[in-house]
Amino acid sequence: MTGAAAASDEALIDRVQSKDENAMGAIFDRYATMVYSVALRVLKEPAQAEDVMQEILLQVWNRPDRFARGRGSLGAWLAVVARNRAIDVLRQRRPTESCDEVVLASATNLASEVEQRAMMEKVRGVMNELPEEQQRSVELAFFEGLSHSEIAARTGDPLGTVKTRIRAALTSLRRGIEA
C-alpha cells in the first residue's frame, strides 16, 4: 500500500482533481469491489458489471468535482450510483439521472475493506430480520428494478401496501444499523 491508501476520501478526490493516478488507484482499491458487487447483484453478468464499475469510477476520474463535499460518504454514494446505473443497463436504457443528482446523508465510513465487510454483515443481519414480504419488496425494487406497480402486479398486493412495505423496510434498516 502507498501513502494514498491511508488518506481520506476527500484527500484522494483532491488529488484526483490534479490527475494523480496513484490516488485514483487507491480509490479503485478501496471501492471497486463494492461497486462491482452491487452491479453484479443487479445484472448477474460479470462482464456487464465490470463495465458499470469501470464507467462509474471513470466518471470519478474525469469529473471528481461531481462528488462534492457534502454529498455524503464516497463509498455510500458510489454504491447508490452503481445500483442506479446497473438498473439502467438492466432496462437497456440511457442513464436516467446524472451522478450530480445523487446526494445522500450518510456518515457510513466504508473506506476500508474491514469496515465494508462489517457493514455488509450488519446490513444483511438486519435485512434477514425484516418480515419476509418487506424484504422481498425491497429486493424486487432495489436489485431487480421493478416499479411499485410491477411489484404489486407480481405479488398481488395493493400499490399502497407495496409502498408502505418498502418504506417500513428502509426505516427498520436504518434503525437497525444505528442501534
Binding site: 469491489t33 466518471q59 476520474w61 455524503g72 463509498g75 450530480d100
Partner: protein
C-alpha cells in the same frame, strides 16, 4: 403529498426510480423548489446505500484493475469526462467571442447527420424494395405450385393420353423366292415416287458371294405400291439377301449405293 411535501414512501420510490414517469416528474418538480424534501431525499438515499451494501462481495474479474488504470492513463488530462446521461453544465455567462462558432458547428453537425440519415434511409428503402419483390415472387411461385397441385389432384379432372400423330409409313417390301425354279415375287409398299429418268431395281445377293444379280426394274403407282413378278433369273442360285436400289431409267448391271431396301434370308429360309 403530505402537508405540502412528498411522502417518505414516494421519496423512496423516486430514489429507486420505481415511480411511473408521470409520478416521477411531479416529484422532481417539487424537489426543485423544496429544500425540505431534498434533505429528506438525501436521508432516503442514505438508507438505500445500506441496501446496496447488503450485496454479497464478489472479487473483481482478473485484470480489472490493470484495465482500469490503462483507461485512465490514456484519458487526456483535460478530458471533460462527460458520460452518457450526465448533466451538461450550462455556462450562465457565456463569452460570445469564444462561443460564437458553436451554433455553426452544431448546424454543420446536424447537416452531416441529416445526410447520413438520408443515405441510410435510401439504403433501407432499396433493401425494402428488393425484399418486397422477393416476397411477391415467392408468393406467386407458391400460388402457382398450389394451382398445379389442385389440378393434378382434382377428382373431376379429365385425363387424356396424347401421342404424336402418325408418321408417314416407312417403305417396305416382301420378297418370295424359290431358288430351285429361279422364281421371285416382290411386293413393295409405301415407296417414294421416282423421277422420270430413274427407276427402282431389285437385286438378288447370292449366298456364294458372287456379284448381285439384277432381278427387275419397277416404278411405284400413285399410292407407292409396286411389284416384280417372276423376273428372268438363273435357276438354282441360293440367295443370301435381296436389295432395292435407285438406278437410271434403263437399269444398271451393278447396284448403285445406297441400298434403299434390304432384307437378309433367315436361317429358316423366310
Amino acid at each position: 403529498m403530505t402537508n405540502g411535501h412528498i411522502s417518505q414512501e414516494d421519496l423512496t420510490l423516486h430514489a429507486m426510480q420505481a415511480l411511473s414517469q408521470k409520478e416521477d416528474a411531479a416529484v422532481r418538480s417539487h424537489l426543485d423548489q423544496c429544500a425540505t424534501c431534498r434533505a429528506d431525499l438525501a436521508f432516503v438515499v442514505g438508507d438505500l446505500a445500506l441496501v446496496a451494501l447488503s450485496a454479497e462481495r464478489t472479487p473483481l474479474p482478473a485484470g480489472a484493475r490493470a484495465r482500469f488504470l490503462e483507461i485512465i492513463s490514456s484519458t487526456p488530462a483535460n478530458a471533460s469526462g462527460r458520460a452518457l446521461g450526465a448533466a451538461i453544465p450550462i455556462d450562465r455567462n457565456p463569452v460570445r467571442s469564444r462561443a460564437i462558432w458553436i451554433p455553426w458547428v452544431a448546424v454543420a453537425a446536424l447537416f452531416v447527420i441529416a445526410i447520413l440519415l438520408d443515405v441510410q434511409v435510401q439504403r433501407l428503402d432499396a433493401r425494402l424494395k428488393i425484399e418486397t419483390e422477393r416476397t411477391a415472387q415467392l408468393t406467386a411461385t407458391t400460388a402457382h405450385a398450389q394451382e398445379v397441385l389442385d389440378v393434378l389432384t382434382a377428382p373431376t379432372a379429365q385425363r387424356v393420353l396424347l401421342t404424336a400423330p402418325k408418321t408417314p409409313p416407312a417403305p417396305s417390301a416382301r420378297a418370295v423366292y424359290l431358288a430351285a425354279r429361279g422364281a421371285l415375287i416382290l411386293e413393295a409398299n409405301n415407296l417414294a415416287q421416282v423421277a422420270q429418268d430413274k427407276t427402282y431395281q431389285l437385286w438378288v445377293i447370292p449366298a456364294d458371294g458372287s456379284a448381285p444379280i439384277p432381278a427387275g426394274l419397277f416404278r411405284p403407282d400413285a399410292a407407292g405400291n409396286a411389284s416384280v413378278v417372276l423376273p428372268p433369273l438363273p435357276v438354282g442360285v441360293a440367295a443370301k439377301a435381296f436389295g432395292v436400289t435407285m438406278e437410271k431409267a434403263s437399269g444398271a448391271a451393278t447396284p448403285t449405293a445406297p441400298i434403299l431396301l434390304a432384307g437378309a434370308v433367315s436361317a429358316s429360309g423366310e
